[in-house]
Symmetry: C3
Subunit: 261 residues, 3 copies
C-alpha cells in the first residue's frame, strides 16, 4: 500500500493549486464545527461560505468550486435543504464531499436522511471507522459522534463500498486510509490531540472539498488533504494543552508552504 506524506510533490501540488485558485467552497455543516471549518479553509487560501440561508443551497451548491455536506448540519438545516445542496452540486458537476457524522449511533431517522444523499453521488465520503462501517451496512457501534473502532477495521468495508458506489472513501484514525476500491493509500503521522479539538474531523471534510477542486486525480487530492492535516498537526505537537494545540494547528496549517518541505 502506498503511503503519502507532505514530502510527496503530488501532495504539495494540491496545496499550490488551492493557494493560486482560491476555490470558492460551499458547506452545509453543523454549527459546532462551522467556525473552525471556515478558518481551516481560509488558512490554506480557499474562500469558504457556509449555511443554508434561503436559496444558498441551490445557488451556491451549483456555483461553488467544491461543496461539502456534513450531515450534522441537520441540526439547523432541513432534510430538503441538504438534498437541494447535494442535488445542485451533482447536477452541476461540482465535486462534493459527504461527512456522515454520527451515522450508526442509533438515530435511525437521521441515518435514513444521510443514506438518502448517496443518490446524489458524492465524489468522496469521509468519516471515522464507526460511521463508515455503518454507511456500508455493517455494525459501526459508534457512541454519539465518537468512534469505538480503528480505521484498519473499516478498510475492507470501505474498499468494497468505494467500488460499488464509485467514489473515494476516506477513514480517519491514527493511520488514515483513502481508497477508490482499487487503489488504497495511507497517511500516517499527525497528533492524537486533534481528536480533542471539536470539529477537527468535520473541518477535514471542508479541506477535502478544497482539494477536490484541484486538477489532481480525486484519490490523490483526498489523500493530500489528509497529509496537510497530518503535517500541520505534527508541526503543532509542541503545544501544551488542547487550547494551544488548536491555535498552533491553525498556525502551522496556514504556514504550510507548497514550495518547501
Amino acid at each position: 500500500m502506498q503511503q503519502l506524506t507532505w514530502q510527496d510533490s503530488a501532495v504539495r501540488d494540491v496545496l499550490r493549486h488551492i493557494k493560486l485558485a482560491k476555490p470558492f467552497c460551499y458547506g452545509m455543516t453543523n454549527y459546532i464545527a462551522a467556525n473552525l471549518s471556515a478558518n481551516v479553509l481560509l488558512a490554506v487560501g480557499a474562500a469558504p461560505a457556509i449555511g443554508g440561508a434561503m436559496d444558498w443551497p441551490t445557488v451556491f451548491g451549483a456555483n461553488a468550486n467544491a461543496v461539502w455536506i456534513n450531515s450534522a448540519c441537520l441540526m439547523s438545516d432541513s432534510p430538503h435543504q441538504v438534498s437541494q445542496t447535494a442535488q445542485a452540486a451533482h447536477a452541476a458537476g461540482v465535486p462534493w464531499v459527504l461527512d456522515p457524522v454520527a451515522l450508526g449511533a442509533g438515530a435511525s431517522e437521521y441515518d435514513q436522511v444521510v443514506l438518502g444523499l448517496l443518490a446524489f453521488k458524492p465524489t468522496a465520503i469521509r468519516g471515522n471507522a464507526s460511521e463508515l462501517i455503518a454507511l456500508t451496512g455493517g455494525q459501526g457501534g459508534g457512541k454519539g459522534v465518537e468512534t469505538t473502532l480503528s480505521s484498519q477495521d473499516a478498510l475492507p468495508f470501505i474498499e468494497e463500498f468505494a467500488r460499488r458506489q464509485g467514489c473515494i472513501m476516506a477513514v480517519s484514525g491514527p493511520v488514515d486510509y483513502i481508497t477508490d476500491g482499487t487503489r488504497t493509500v495511507s497517511v500516517a503521522g499527525g497528533d492524537a490531540r486533534l481528536t480533542q479539538v471539536t470539529g477537527a474531523g468535520c473541518s477535514l471534510g471542508a479541506l477535502i472539498a478544497a482539494a477536490l477542486s484541484s486538477p489532481t486525480d480525486p484519490l490523490t487530492a483526498v489523500a493530500a488533504a489528509h497529509a496537510f492535516y497530518a503535517e500541520a498537526s505534527q508541526r503543532a505537537s509542541g503545544a501544551q494543552g488542547t487550547g494551544s494545540f488548536a491555535v498552533a494547528f491553525l498556525d502551522t496549517l496556514s504556514l504550510l508552504d507548497s514550495e518547501s518541505v
Copy 2:
C-alpha cells in the same frame, strides 16, 4: 458552609471518573457556546455530541450518560425538540442539567418554555443570580444574558427552590454556591475574565453534566465541576487579554491531573 476546592480528593475523584469512563454527554445548546462547550468536555476526557438533528433528541437524550439543556438552544431548536430531550433523559433516568440562559430578561414566551422544562425534573439547574432568582419567581432583573445581581443575593432563593423542586441548584459569581436545599457548599477563586469569554458559563453547564455521570453524590459532583473551573481559570490567570485567557483556560483544564494537586 463547606468550601470545596481542587485540593479536596472528592473533587479530584470526579475528574478521575470522567477520564476513565469517557461519558457520552449530549447537549442542546446555543450556537454561540456550542464550540467551547464541546472543547471543555473534550478537555476533561468526556465524549460530547450537540444539537437537535432529526431524532437525536429522543435517541441521544435517552442513550447518553448525561445530558445538558441550555435553553438558549431555542435559537435553533424548537420547543418540542427541547422538551423531547428533557423527557427522554428523565424517562431513561439519565442525569440532566438545565441552564436557563437569560431567564427573566423580559422575553416572556421564551421564559414560559424554559419553566415548562421543570416538569421533567432536572438533576441540577445552573445559572447566574438574575436567571436563578427569576426561575424561583423573584425579580431577577437581568440585562440580556448578563446578571445585575451577585451570587450571594440568590442564595436564599435557590436554597428554598432546591428543597421544593428536589434538585441541585448552582449559582455562579465571584463565589459560586451549590445547594440541595439542605446542604450548601461554596467554591471560590477563579478569574473574573472568565466572564469575558463568551459561552464560558454555558460550557460549565456541559461540564456539570459530565460530573453528574460519576458515582459521586450529585451535590459534590456539581460542586466539583465548579472547582475544576475555578482551578483551571486561576492557573490561566497569567494570560494577557481575553483571547489568550480563553486559550490558556482550555489548556489548564485539559492539563488538570486527578492524581496531583
Copy 3:
C-alpha cells in the same frame, strides 16, 4: 478626506463610553461568526446577546442599547424573525446596523429579503465592496462571501446611497471608508490577515452597534469602531499564523485603553 485613527480623542471617547456604559447589544447573526462577535463585544466591555430564540427578536430588539443584523443569520432565523428584530429596533429608536453578507453573489431570494430590511431604516450599513455595490443596485460580483472589488471602487456608490437612504455607509478593505453621503472619513492600517479570520468582518458589525450606542455622532462612532479594529489588528501583527493572529487580535482589542494612545 479626513482620516481617523486611534490617535484621535474622538475615537477613544467612543471606547470610553462603551467601557463605562456596558451597552446591551443584541444581534441576529450567522453561527459561524456568532462566537467571535460576542467575544469582540466582551473584549471592549459591552454586553452581547445573540440569536432568535422565541420572542427575543421583538423584546431584545426593542430593549437593547444597540442592535446588529447580519443577514446571513437567515441560515438559522426566519425572514419573519429578522424583520421583527429590525422593526422592533426601528420602532423603539434603537440604533441598528445592517451587514448584508454575500449580497449580490447570485442568491436572489436571499437578496430580496435583505433589501426588504432597508424599510426599517438601519442607522448604518457595513460590508465589503461587492456587497455594498450590489446593495446600491450596481454589479457587485461577489464570490460567495468574498469580495472581488476594492473599497475604493465602492466609494461613489455608497456616498450616493447614504444620501438617498439617510444612513451611514461603511465599506471595509485595505482602507475603510465611512460616509453619510456628505462627509466621508477614511480609516487605514490594520493587518490583511484579518481577512483570514472567519467572522472578523461580521464581528465588526457588532462592534459598530456598540459604538452607535455612544453619544458621539453616528459617522464618527462608526468610524471609531473601524479605528479600534485597525489599531488592534496592527498591534497583533507580530503573530505567526492565522490562529495566533486571531487570539492576539482579541487580546489587543481587550487591552485597548481609552486613556492612552
